[in-house]
Each structure stands twice: as C-alpha cells, then as structure tokens.
Point group: D2
Chain length 341, copies 4
C-alpha cells in the first residue's frame, strides 16, 4: 500500500547498504576506532566548518538525548524544553530515569520562545529560595521540531546568546536535521548550527541510514571519558564500523544533503497535492513532515488506500494526520496520492 506513514519504513538508502557490503570483509578495530568512523568524523567536521569538533556515533535519538543530558548536566540541573519536546513526551521518561527533570516552556508550533526562556532564567536566579529548586542547566531544542517547523537564523542565535549569558549549553536534537538543512528559506546552515549550539546531533536513522546518529560537540566540550559513559549506558557498539561506514557514505560528496533535498522536494509536491484538492492544513512546514486536518469520514476513507501517521484528534469531528516523505519517496508515489485524493 502507498505509505507516507513515516520516514523510517524502508531500510537504508541502497548506496549505504552497498558500502556495508563492499567493506564487509575488511578487518577493522572495534568500538568506533575504525578507519571509516575516523573518516566520517573528519568529513563531518569539515561540513560543520568546525575543526575542533569532537564527534561520536550512537544508535538512536532517545539514546543520544539520554546520554547528552546525563553527561552534560550536573546532578542538580534539569533541561529546559518545549512542553512538546520529544524528551518531554515520547521518550518514556528516559531523561528522568537518568535523574534529571525536564523544565518546560510553552511551545509555539513546537518551538520555544527566546523571551520566555529569558524570563524563566531570570526568575530562577532571582528566587532567593532557589537552592531548593532544580537548576536550569541546558536548553534542548529540536530542529526540525516535532511539528516539522524550523528555527530561523535569528531565533537560533537569540537562544544561543541567552545560553551563553547564563553559561548553559544549547543542545539541538537533529533527528531530522538534514530536512532542515535542505529546506528553502532563511534557515541556519550546518556551520551556523555548529556555531550556535554547544552540542547537537545529525540524524541518520530518519534520513537514509539503517540506524545511527552523529553527535557533535562543537565547543571542545566532550565530557571526560565519554567512551566509558557510552559503554555504561549500554550504547557502545562492538562493531562501530556499522555507524562509521554509514556516516562516511552520507558525508561523502554531499550525499546527505542530496537525500534530504529530495525528500523536502517531495514534501512540497505532497503539499501541492493536498492544497489543490482543497484540504486544510493543521500545519504546513518547510520540511519533510506535513500535518493535514481531516474530517473523520474523510480520514476513514483515506486510510483504506494510503497509510499516514495518526497525529491527534482535535475535536469530535476532526483528526490530524502526519504525512512524511523520505529518500524513498518517488514522483510515482505522489502521482498515486494525487489520484487517490
């Protein structure tokens, strides 16, 4: 069945699998010390224009979010996030299980607002009683957000300046970062992100890889004995090559951007298809995820022919669905969708 259910319903981009096959019999050092992991890191440092960046590869987003908060926060600190931030809603309490509170701010299409952040930080440090409270120790943003939206350059640097003022790191969850980088408009580039954020990850799982995320510490700030911490979290791969080879492939000759640009372009066509047929959007985004508002009947009919992600029920009569594109989405898929609509 035609499916726009998510951007991780297929395996990996075939080029990535091909590289795994080609290199399969090479005898490589384990635990991420192999030559492909080294090369991938070098290429990412270049793409970030950040020669001092320290990088490591992890398996998935929640794992990365958990390890970042566990290693960068002091035990008396929490992490600030939008109330809709993935770490606050859909990670099964992984952050709290590591001992840290998520301090929430209101969300605006999935984003936090610099003024509201400034207010929270000021209030905290004004409170005479704050030794009894959780210290704000990091700011978490997702980009694209859980709603597919993006921070503008200005918004990102405003958050960055605030974090700098209070000496707390700005962390970007880039599970779908490629779709942000490839988006049309006034969007931060990878070097700008490396400059604005203290730590961020470049998503592989949801952008062409079989699995894996590239975690980047851009300010010479990788926590001490980070490999031991990864091991302690149960996240160190014996065959680190699995991640190194994938990211080496993604960051060779602009391949990551190519994949994501394709997906964003397919998403633009998808928007057009819905718009032409008069569908209402819950949220139009510049990235690979679109949110469409459907009447119940329409939803029931549509889902017999094409798979979408169910997002939420807005009232008794309407639902919101999420349509996602990826490297695997074809023009034919979109033609088929157009016909169904």
């Amino acid at each position: 069945m035609l499916s726009f259910e998510s951007d991780y319903i297929e395996g990996a981009h075939p080029k990535i699998l091909a590289r795994l096959v080609e290199t399969n019999l090479e005898k490589l050092t384990g635990y991420g010390e192999d030559i492909y992991s080294q090369r991938a890191k070098e290429k990412i440092r270049e793409a970030c224009n950040c020669p001092q960046a320290r990088i490591c590869f992890l398996m998935g987003g929640t794992q990365t979010n958990k390890i970042v908060t566990a290693t960068m926060l002091a035990p008396y600190e929490g992490v600030i996030a939008a109330e809709t931030g993935h770490i606050n809603t859909h990670e099964a309490g992984a952050i709290e299980a590591a001992g840290h509170k998520v301090l929430t701010l209101p969300q605006h299409q999935g984003k936090i607002d610099a003024k509201e952040l400034a207010h929270l930080l000021e209030q905290f440090f004004l409170d005479e009683n704050h030794e009894h409270m959780v210290f704000p120790g990091m700011v978490y943003i997702s980009h694209p957000t859980e709603y597919g939206t993006l921070y503008s350059r200005e918004e990102l640097f405003a958050l960055s300046a605030l974090c700098g003022k209070y000496r707390i790191p700005l962390y970007m969850d880039g599970a779908r970062l490629g779709y942000a980088l490839a988006a049309v408009g006034d969007v931060p580039s990878l070097p700008e992100i490396a400059a604005a954020c203290d730590v961020f990850y470049i998503g592989g799982t949801k952008a062409g890889a079989l699995c894996g995320e590239a975690l980047v510490f851009s300010k010479n700030n990788m926590p001490a004995h980070f490999m031991t911490r990864i091991k302690q979290h149960g996240a160190l791969l014996a065959k680190g090559r699995l991640l190194g080879i994938q990211f080496d492939t993604l960051f060779t000759d602009g391949f990551y951007m190519e994949i994501c640009r394709h997906a964003d372009a397919m998403a633009a066509r998808l928007k057009d298809a819905f718009r032409e047929k008069g569908y209402a959007f819950f949220l139009e985004t510049p990235t690979n995820q679109q949110f469409i508002l459907l009447e119940n009947d329409c939803y029931e009919m549509l889902k017999t022919k094409v798979a979408f992600g169910f997002w939420e029920r807005t009232d008794d009569h309407h639902v919101v669905i999420r349509a996602a594109t990826s490297w695997a989405t074809t023009r034919e898929d979109l033609e088929a969708l157009r016909r169904i609509l």
Copy 2:
C-alpha cells in the same frame, strides 16, 4: 523580633522534649524496633481507625516523598501532581533523581481538579502510542496544599474514586496535616483520609516535633522489605527512638490535635488583625498559613518590625507574604502584631 516566618522556627513543643529527657537512659533496640515506636504506631492506627495500617517514621517531607515515589512506582511510571506541588517545585528534583517524572496538572489554589485528572488518565490510555510515554502511576496531593488550602470531603473522595478506577495509589503529603484536621468546616477526618488515600504522611516537623513524619500505608500495601529500602535511601535512624518517642507523645491524649487547633485559632486571629486594618489577602485559608498582599513600601516598612515569609512578587508594585502560626504562637504575639499593623 516578632516572627510569623514559618512554623518551624522554634524547636519542639516542650512536652516532647520532656519525654525525650525522661526516657533518655532507657536502653532501647535500634532502627525503629523500640517500644515507643511500636506504641506510637498503635496509637496512630487507632487515630486512623485503620487496624491494618503499616506505619514507619522518617525524618522529613522530601525524604518521605522521595521514598514513597521510589518504592510505590514502577520504573516506567511517573507521579501526577499540581504544577505547584512541593515535589514539582521545591524538592531540588528529588523525585527525578529517583528516576521518576512528575506529570503536572494545573493548580487551583494549590489543588488539582478531579475532572482534569480524569481527562489526563483517559487521554493517556487512549493514546495508541503510550508505550513511548511515561505511565501515570500515582496521584500526589498536598493537604493542606502549599497555599494552605484544603480538599473538601467530596473533592478528596472524587480523587480517590478515580485512582481506584485506574488502580493507581492516591498519596497525600501531610507535612502540615494536623492544621487540616483541626480546621473548621467540612474537612476530611483522619479515618476518612486513611480510607480515601492509599498512603499518606502525618507531618511532625512542622507541627510540634523536633523532626519526623509518620508515613502510613493504609491498604496493607507497604512495599516489600521497606526497611531495606529506607536504609538504601540513607534514611534509617540508628536511634529510631528519636522519632518513636515524639510521635508517641503527639498521639497520646489528642495532643497533636490540641497543638494544631491552637495554631489554627491563632491564624484566625491573625487574619482578623489584618482584615480589620484593611489589608488585602492574596489567599485566606482555614489553616495556619495566610497569604497577604502588600504594596512594596508597606512591605519594606513592615519587615523591619516583624518577620514573615516572602512568597512572591505579583507585579512591580506588590508582593505576597506568608504568615504562619504554630504551637509556639501566643496571644501576646498577636497583640503585638495588631499594634504594629
């Protein structure tokens, strides 16, 4: 200086100290197995009209809240609380440090609303994706709340019924429970609280004791090897007599109620004093804490003559102060206050 700063600025009620002195040379078993701890438990069971209750004594409120959540929640569960709940705001992240998320509901003068709780629980179990979310595993209420307000019988039993429906425990933080029990009006009695809640504690530290809280499991539901858990949390006293003797004294001949009734009566006089002089209340309560709204100038002048707790700044021109009474508050104190006002 005259002070209504809090209900824990003095030591213990002299009668309690006297008992510590009288029993001091008796050779007693350690770790809470002494005869006074046994007697205190028996008297509390009687006061709760709950013969099957299992009781233990701990040192303070945060310690009790942490141990209750750590031992009664499954690792994938969080605890529901008002956004102003003490565990959410002023316990330095103790709950999260034990691995659990605080799931917040709006506060209404410090209380949660049964309808909003029902909605949260329904939504959670409807969400198809809830395996990625934190399970609601307990409901936390404070009574009196952090604002000195009380749940009515009806409100309490509505929450209790909801918890029963979803098979999650209702936990009452009774740091100042005595002031609630002694309050005038339609307020739940101790046996009613024992019936409505699965677990609750009767506060000593802020109601006449030097230290200590009596934690009551009223449904034959004390977690297995609870003493070992207390030890593991660093909360087991070698000289458990310190807590046993205090609670034995408090629960002999209605002494706990006597102390708290006095404090509530003093608070009523304090309210009168402010009201007569035309002061505005931020919140009038039936218990020993009152919240008064002051203009900045007035606040600055007043605080040179009498100590209050600073509560919050409502706008550029006003502050809220908290005035608390206790067993140690005298009629003379209130006369002095009246003169100052």
Copy 3:
C-alpha cells in the same frame, strides 16, 4: 595482516547482508513489530522448544545485561556473578549505574561453583541482620564464559535447582552462545538452556551478525511493559527490522549452528597448530577462544606477523594471548598461522 584478534573484526556473514539488501525496500512497521522480527521470534521459540518464550532483540551485550538486571531485580536486590563475570569487570559499571550491586563469587576457569553459590545464599538468609544487606536477587553466568569454558549439563542444572529453591532467576549471558551449542562434548542444548534458565540471550554480534542479541524469557516472565523499559533505556530501534532480519536469517535452516560449528572446528585446528609446535596453553577450551601462554620475546616477535588479543601478563616473563576464530576464519588462515608458528 593475519588476525585472530577477536570474533568481531569483520562485518556480518555475507548471507545476512544479502538478506538486508533483498528486503530493503519493503515498507515495514517500526519498533520491532515488523514481520521479520515476528518470524525470527517464532523460529527461536522452536529452536528452544519453548512455545511460551517471550523474545526481544537488543543491540549489544552490555545493553542486554543492563536491561535484564534493571528490569528483573527489585531495587533492594543485587546480582550474583563470578568475580571475572563481564558485568563485574568490563561493562564500565553499567549494572551499578542502574542501581544494583554485583555480588561476587570466586571464579573457576570463569565459572561459578554450585556449592559456593549454595553457601552464599544460605549465609545470607541466616544472617539476622540481612535487612541491612543487598539481597541476592539473580544469578548471572556467562556461557561460554569470558575464558571460553562451558558449564556441563550437570553444572547448569545444579545452578538452576538452587535458583529455583530460592526463587531467584538464573540468567545466562550468551554473547557467544552459538560456540557453546556447537561445541563437542556433554554440553547443554538450546532447549536444555531454555529449561534451566529463566532468561538468557543468544548472541548475534559475536556470532555472525552485524549487531544484535536475542533476549529470551523462557518462563512466561517478561517484565511488564518491557517495550517501554527498552525505550527508557534508549535501546529501542526505530528500524527494528535491522535486528529481526538478521535473526530470521540466523535461525533459518540451522544457519546459526552452521556458522558456529565452523568457528569451533577452526579453533580446534588452531589448538592443534599451537600444540604441535610445543606452545603452552593457559587454557584450552571447547569453543572459539583459546588462551596461549607466551614468553615475552616470543610474544613480541609473533605480534609483528599475526594479531591476537592481549589477555594478561602472568609474571614478568610471560603473557597470555587470546586467539579467536569466527565464521570468517578460513583453512588458509590456519595454514598461514602454522607457517608462522
């Protein structure tokens, strides 16, 4: 360079990669709910002769050990292991980071002794003061052990009986289980292991897979909401297919046994090669790892021509090396080794 450094220096067996390529474009449900994961589980249940087994796939050994102890132990319990057990020595404190103590027993060629286990359990429950101690809550064994040795049927069932007597689970770390199952001699079969153990894992990473371990709960004892726990540990893969397809391949037509039998046979030849040349063994094993004792000079010379794992220094003049074979070891490799020796 010729290498017997470990059993995870290559990628995956080519047949496994081929299956990943073949299935790559199929659109599959995420988070382990795909058809290949289902099939793999069914095949493993059959191989274990254990229709009620509940199975899930995880990424690596430390992750699996951590999740098993975290989910199966009560907070007041620790896990018993040989002092050389992997969880006690080389997992960076992952078990303690999850809150649990490793209670050690002496090791005998990597194994624990049933009599010593019985003694530990008896002593614990006799101690009147045991409420202040860590409760023994699980027995951990590795099979093959970290020294490549195996438990006999009798030894395994003796441990199993003890665990049954004290109602604590027996957990087998099977990082290299295939090499045990394929070994010649009186060794427990997979159905016997499923009968003797409460939980165990079948290692993929070190036995032909790119990554992945199959965790088996054989007594209808998978912890509640296990998927949520995996997510909370940061161990839930979006593309669960990666693990499902690999284990489906490994458990089709006896392929896992075929790979491991080959490796064990290669190890037998390797032993012969060393023995013929008069080398001394630190430990001869029936599995794919062999431990050879070398004089320093000999070690320095040898390591310029063939890679081994450095195991330990026994005195100022000798070292122990570990030689490991795998699916990728060829007869030609062994001929080459023989020539070098």
Copy 4:
C-alpha cells in the same frame, strides 16, 4: 538487663539534651543556617586546625556515605574499600543505588593495605582496556574500622600519599571517630586526619549525640551547590538546629573527647575483665568495641544475663560477640559484668 550490645542503645548524653531544652524557644533560621550550626562549624574547624574546612551536618552514617560518594565521584568512577567496609556490606546497596561500584580490596583486621592499594591503582591505569572498566575514583576507609581497629599515623599518611599521587580523594568514615581520637597509642590526631584526608566525618550518633554526623571537607573541596544535593537526597533538615546545637555542645570545652575517653577507658576495663577470666579474644582493639570468642554453651549462658552484639559464627562450636562501651557505661556496669563472668 546489663547491656554492651552497642553504643547507641541510650538516647543522648544528658548535657546535649539539656542544651536542646535551653535553646528550644529561640527563633532560629532553618536548613542549617542557624547560629548554633555556625558556631559548631567554627569550633570543628578549630579542633581540626583547618580554617578553610567546609562543614555540614547530616543525620546518619549511610546517608553521609551515600552523599559523599554521589557528589564526589564522577559517574564513571567507583569507590575503593575493604571487602568488610560498611559501604560494601551493611548499607543495603546505598552506594550502588546512587550509581557507583564499590571496588574491593582485601581486609586486614578491617583495614586496607597501602601496597595492595598501590597495586590496584597501577594495574588499572596500565590496562589498555580500562575505558571499559570502572575508574577508581575515591578511597574509603573507616577509622575505627568495623572491627574497632585503627590506622597508625604512618598507615594513614601512606594511603594519603597514594591518593595524592593519583589525584583521588581519601575519605574517612568516622562513625566512631571519637573513640579513635581518644585511644592510647600512636594514633592520628584530628588535625592530622584533616591533613591526610580530603573528606571525613566525625560521628555523633554513636558517640553521645541523639543523631547526626559532621561532614568535613578539608581541602576547599565541597561539591558545588552542596545544599541542593543534600535536599535532593532527602537529607536536608528544616530544623537544622537539631544538629547544630548537638555538635556545638560536643565541641565546646573538649566534651567530645571527654565522652570518648571515658568509653575507651571503660572498654579497657572490659578487656581486663574478660582477660582475667581466661576468655579468648577474636580481636582486641584500642577503641570502644571488643570482640570475644565464645564456645556455644558459654554464649548461650552468658546471653541470658548480659546483652552483647552477635558478630559471627566462626565454626560449629564457636561464636564471636561484640561488646561496646559508650558515655553511658559505668564502673558499676563493669563490676556487674565481672561478677557474671
């Protein structure tokens, strides 16, 4: 009944209770900011001859040990201790519950040996694979040990030098420190302990106080936001005066030493009484705890007349008992014992 069961069977020394009564109605700031806590700290700094020491008061030994390890160890570090160290045996896994491994060394009458410590540290840092291991991050000693024995000056400074060499803190659990300071012989003084150790605590609970331990950071090394950490552990007292007044009393005019000198002198008489009657010692110590070896029959008879602590069963025919003296032990008690023996 005559009892030498432990040094915490009575309440507090009457002088301490008297001070609690005298100061009871003073209105004091909470959370340890009161004037008595300040004074007690000043007096302890003087007694330690360590003007830069930072001090705080906690309730009990396990709580103190847990907070020290939790705040001074990095997450990838464990604490080295004798296998008989209290943190390794009788704290219900409190250290592991805080995420840290206890790395054990053999015990020699309860003490660790500097050579064995040196070996452990050297081996660890030599191991090429140590990123997969728990880093030794602190050395824990108890003084007196769990066996009542003491480190000599030389032994203590040897451990201190090793810790200095590897830049890890030396931590002394001084649950019964007073009895060590008051002992006859070549024993470290309090200023020497403050010089040798990075952190230590001066026990109150088992040396005359109702409860409480004074934790001393002697190297300007109190962890950041320590009060918040204490709160997070559930260990912050609202009425901090309870601890401040007790330690102020203990450290006024040498009272702590006076109490402990008395107890040690009583223990010397107790030794004499047993020795004269021909009893065998399991361990004779210079402090307030003595360990006597008894035949079963003798033990059964004796325990009907005088209470001792049961220590262990050495074989089928013998048990070891512990006899402890304290401030409350009188010459009459010892006469009574002599008669019974």
